[in-house]
Symmetry: C2
Subunit: 326 residues, 2 copies
């Protein structure tokens, strides 16, 4: 079985984006009206078709990351928008329970304590069967005003994650800072930033069972694995394996063979989860290969890894990290 | 000959740091008093010893990046501090003209137009023989308030760089944003950010001969080279080679063999300049190899590249990019 742990509902029906537009304009939108057929059409033409074409079986499915926009409006705006998005994810996954497993957006808002997200997380996990969440380390959208992820500021949310036994994927949203292109800089920077925050802290002493997935292949981290091993060493931190590899995992959203080969070479196979983020940041066909850049299964298949290791990446590790998923 | 294009005077005599402490405290420091012998001692015990031990011949040498601290004080603070630092670099390089070639710090200050840096750049290059500069894309120190490097805001500085025929290394300084560890996140993020800024702009149509070196192996860029090729393609930009590889170069400050192997595999050899950033961010010995993490010559030597390509990386490309250096 092939589990893609990183998919967003980028193709949601237009009514969702219309609802959001009304909300941002300050109107009180009517309840979202989307038919089951519209949901089916949006998935059949896109994610389901690609699952079939590329040979993946199930996608952990969350609201579009770039649209979380935690920086827009206030905590109420974010709570309402998160609920609408998560409910739609729930419906999509209920229509195709063999193909999609729900992961939720959190109702974060800049400067608002993360414990305000606990209720929506609990609702999604306990009532609706979600298996994980996306946690935005920078709800300001590129201004980075929140304390590091290792600050006690975040602890109430972590307590709930641990209690519910769900991991968080560290995932920023769109950037309203003109310095940072969102999918080309902000996403990748956030991955790198979060890893370094974890490296410098004792967070996982406080929460030994807390689990994070760093997407986009871990940002810059595997490419600079020697730098991070060396920085930890200079700071008299424990070796990275001991310090954080029981808690921090990387996905395979790296869109060329040499990048995946590096990831597989330097990061222990137990810490790598298959993912493509389709339909996502990069949608074209690589002229060098004739295949879609984000058809990441080809890169894993094309690697020199043995079958048992591939199985861990494709399925086993996802079952371990997203342990509520059966 | 082996040219290390990225070295900072991290080991400068204590008097320099005392001068700075006085300046930041609002005292008007006396002129810096450092003897030639103190400079010699600071280099003989460190960079010169390591050049000999590791077999490099010459280092392009600039003030300590983390101490540029453009966010401290105002434009006058930065101008005075830059002048003191650059003059000390000039003296160090004059004492060892075969070993060190001067590269300057720019007197940037948040919100101050970059054309204010033109005079110090011209002084360093025309009067003191400097061959390049370090350009900070985020003089705010981790708050990223400046326009992207591709904005016309920066053009007066670029006009002078082109006129003088000097490249800039894109290099941030320390971070005063608690989200960003400076050498573990801010440096690497800045590299990635700058590349993406270049990718989305037509800067190099306006300045066909402008040259930037992106340090630390290009941040996350080579690891995500497929992503960047795909993003450019989705945006209907030209292929990266055509769009920016005539103007953008990467150094080899990547501190493990798999990272260097990736860099050499995906980036054209003409765009890679040898560098170690010693004595810098990572100072320990890698227990996996028994050698210093930042002894990057070993990784180039250990690669499968042919002799002619290694010569380009070790010397030829540096002569082309830093064309004032004879």
């Amino acid at each position: 079985m092939i589990v893609d742990c990183h998919g967003h509902y980028t193709t949601a029906p237009q009514a969702l984006w219309d609802w959001r537009r009304q909300q941002v304009a300050g109107k009180d939108p009517d309840p979202l009206r989307v038919s089951d057929d519209e949901i089916r059409a949006s998935l059949e033409a896109n994610q389901l078709r690609l699952q079939r074409e590329r040979g993946s079986d199930v996608t952990f499915f969350s609201p579009r990351a770039g649209s979380m926009e935690h920086h827009v409006g206030d905590a109420r705006t974010s709570a309402d928008w998160s609920r609408v998005c998560n409910d739609l994810i729930h419906r999509a996954c209920a229509l195709y329970p063999r193909n999609f497993v729900p992961v939720c957006q959190l109702p974060q808002s800049p400067g608002v304590p993360p414990k305000q997200c606990v209720w929506e997380l609990a609702r999604c996990v306990e009532e609706l069967g979600f298996v994980g969440c996306n946690l935005n380390p920078d709800p300001s959208g590129g201004h980075w005003k929140e304390p590091p992820l290792t600050d006690r500021w975040w602890y109430p949310l972590y307590e709930k994650m641990v209690e519910l036994d769900v991991p968080a994927m560290v995932h920023v949203s769109s950037s309203c800072n003109p310095a940072f292109h969102f999918t080309g800089a902000h996403y990748i920077n956030a991955d790198t930033t979060a890893f370094m925050q974890f490296l410098t802290s004792d967070l996982f002493k406080d929460f030994p069972t807390l689990k994070f997935v760093i997407p986009h292949g871990g940002g810059a981290v595997p490419y600079h694995w020697g730098r991070y091993r060396g920085l930890a060493q200079d700071m008299k931190r424990p070796p990275l394996a001991e310090l954080l590899l029981g808690n921090v995992f990387f996905d395979t959203c790296v869109y060329h063979q040499p990048g995946i080969d590096l990831l597989l070479k330097v990061i222990p196979v137990e810490n790598i989860l298959f993912a493509s983020e389709m339909v996502g940041a990069v949608r074209g066909v690589d002229p060098e290969t004739g295949h879609y850049y984000d058809d990441t299964r080809r890169y894993i298949d094309g690697s020199t890894l043995g079958a048992a290791d591939k199985q861990k990446i494709f399925e086993g590790n996802a079952r371990r990290v997203y342990s509520r998923w059966r």
